[in-house]
């Protein structure tokens, strides 16, 4: 059903259409409205259990317990809240629990900043969680059911990432999947070793050097296998809705000589600039890295071989090269590509079309590594 409402509202609807059993949320900007919308659904009986936990650490912990007991679980957070979950994120993935979380990307303290960049989710890329990034709210509502599909099949948790404020607070026209459609797509949740007095196993064991690495090797292998299931989910969803998804979204990349790549809503701006420049005869393209984990190395290499690529990182790895750039550069090693690194757009400094046009220009010459959006918004500088 097509709706024109705030992102948080449609995200909640998409989640509830998946027939959630247990939700545990702690409010934090920019996902507060989503925790509230979910609570409204709970108050109206559409979600059986909603825990108002006292911290994000407890939110994800409660879902670890609920998921292990056989419940389909969901939560939302961003920024500091996600950072606070860092320890239990590893635990959830290591215990192979198919929890789904909607992250509203927010900059990290200190200094404190409630606006958008990708630092929070980028810094969780080692945790064993699958990461899906969304360019707009349509992609987000489509990705939530797909997230449950993949999570429950491969038994790894999934975070669906949307840019805080830009998407969570955006009012867009979105075709929201209804419960009937989602139920046709998503099989009922069955955790193979759920906590059950009839079959009393011990979960979350202590593994010494003899055993620990074996479990980790298994997680790595399954994360790799998740690629196929992500593609399968995207195709199946495409058959049901006409909107198919994959690991990447390549827009006019095939014959492009210059391509800009990033995650999240900035890509819709890049697409607009690509259209603009194409009118002028420039051969440019946009590649959205929809799935960051598992990292689609082969797809990247195939799509961007021989091209001039600019990676926009709205995140940092302080003391080293920008994180997404590094992974792309490695994938394109020996593929005749020229990879540039553009980092900035932090803490809500939007990467606008005026910046993007400049980046396409910069790509013409040799590979470059530099800051972008180095000028603060004009109004803000009164001290």
């Amino acid at each position: 059903m097509i709706k024109t409402v705030e992102g948080a509202r449609v995200l909640a609807e998409a989640a509830v259409a998946c027939r959630l059993d247990v939700v545990a949320c702690y409010p934090i900007t920019p996902t507060t409205h989503l925790t509230e919308e979910l609570n409204q659904f709970y108050a109206d009986g559409r979600i059986p259990e909603y825990l108002t936990v006292e911290a994000e650490f407890s939110a994800i912990s409660a879902l670890i317990g609920a998921s292990a007991a056989g419940a389909r679980t969901f939560t939302t957070t961003g920024g500091q809240g996600l950072l606070y979950m860092h320890e239990p994120l590893f635990s959830a993935a290591g215990m192979r629990l198919p929890i789904v979380m909607l992250v509203g990307n927010r900059a990290v303290s200190s200094p404190l900043n409630i606006w958008n960049d990708e630092q929070d989710t980028i810094s969780q890329r080692d945790t064993g969680w699958i990461q899906i990034y969304c360019r707009n709210n349509q992609e987000a509502v489509d990705s939530i059911p797909q997230a449950f599909y993949v999570a429950e099949k491969i038994l790894l948790p999934v975070m669906v990432c949307v840019d805080g404020h830009y998407l969570t607070h955006a009012v867009e026209q979105v075709d929201v999947p209804d419960e009937k459609l989602v139920q046709g797509f998503l099989p009922p949740y069955k955790y193979p070793l759920k906590l059950d007095p009839q079959n009393p196993v011990s979960l979350g064991v202590y593994a010494n050097p003899t055993h620990y690495q074996t479990f980790r090797e298994d997680v790595v292998a399954d994360m790799e296998a998740a690629k196929e299931i992500l593609v399968e989910a995207g195709k199946k969803w495409g058959k049901l809705t006409g909107r198919e998804y994959g690991l990447i979204n390549a827009y006019k990349v095939k014959d492009a000589d210059r391509v800009l790549l990033s995650v999240g809503s900035v890509m819709d701006n890049v697409v607009m600039v690509v259209d603009e420049l194409r009118e002028k005869g420039e051969k440019v393209g946009a590649l959205h890295l929809r799935v960051l984990r598992p990292f689609p190395r082969e797809e990247i290499a195939k799509a961007l071989e021989g091209k001039k690529v600019g990676v926009i990182d709205r995140d940092l790895s302080i003391g080293a090269q920008a994180p997404i750039y590094l992974e792309i550069a490695e994938a394109l090693n020996g593929k005749g590509a020229q990879v540039s690194s553009f980092y900035g757009g932090l803490g809500g400094r939007g990467v606008k079309r005026v910046h993007i046009r400049e980046l396409f220009e910069k790509l013409r010459k040799g590979p470059v590594k530099q800051w972008i959006t180095t000028e603060p918004p004009k109004a803000a500088m009164k001290g």
């Binding site: 491969i154 979960l203 064991v205 593994a207 074996t214 399954d222």
Partner: protein, 83 residues
């Protein structure tokens, strides 16, 4: 796809009886079947309460809680024979 887990009660594969330097020996004639030793055993291997204790030496660590708590002192801690 491995979910790290362990099957119930598999700790019995760990023969902790090898730990002990002293082993409890019960004098059944003196035993008053009070159930105290069975109740307090940290391994839970002294058998049913209200009966003369039947000790599973495979798991007894020789802690001597039973001997110390017995109200009639009918349990003796004997040095385990060294090989």
């Amino acid at each position: 796809m491995i979910i790290p887990h362990a099957k119930p009660g598999t700790s019995v594969q760990n023969i902790t009886g090898e730990w002990k330097a002293y082993m409890p020996v019960v004098n059944g004639d003196k035993c008053i079947k009070c159930g105290i030793c069975q109740n307090f055993c940290p391994e839970g291997i002294m058998g049913e309460v209200k009966r003369i204790p039947e000790i599973d030496y495979e798991y007894c660590k020789g802690c001597s809680v039973c001997a110390n708590e017995c109200p009639v002192k009918c349990i003796e801690m004997r040095r385990v024979e060294q090989d």
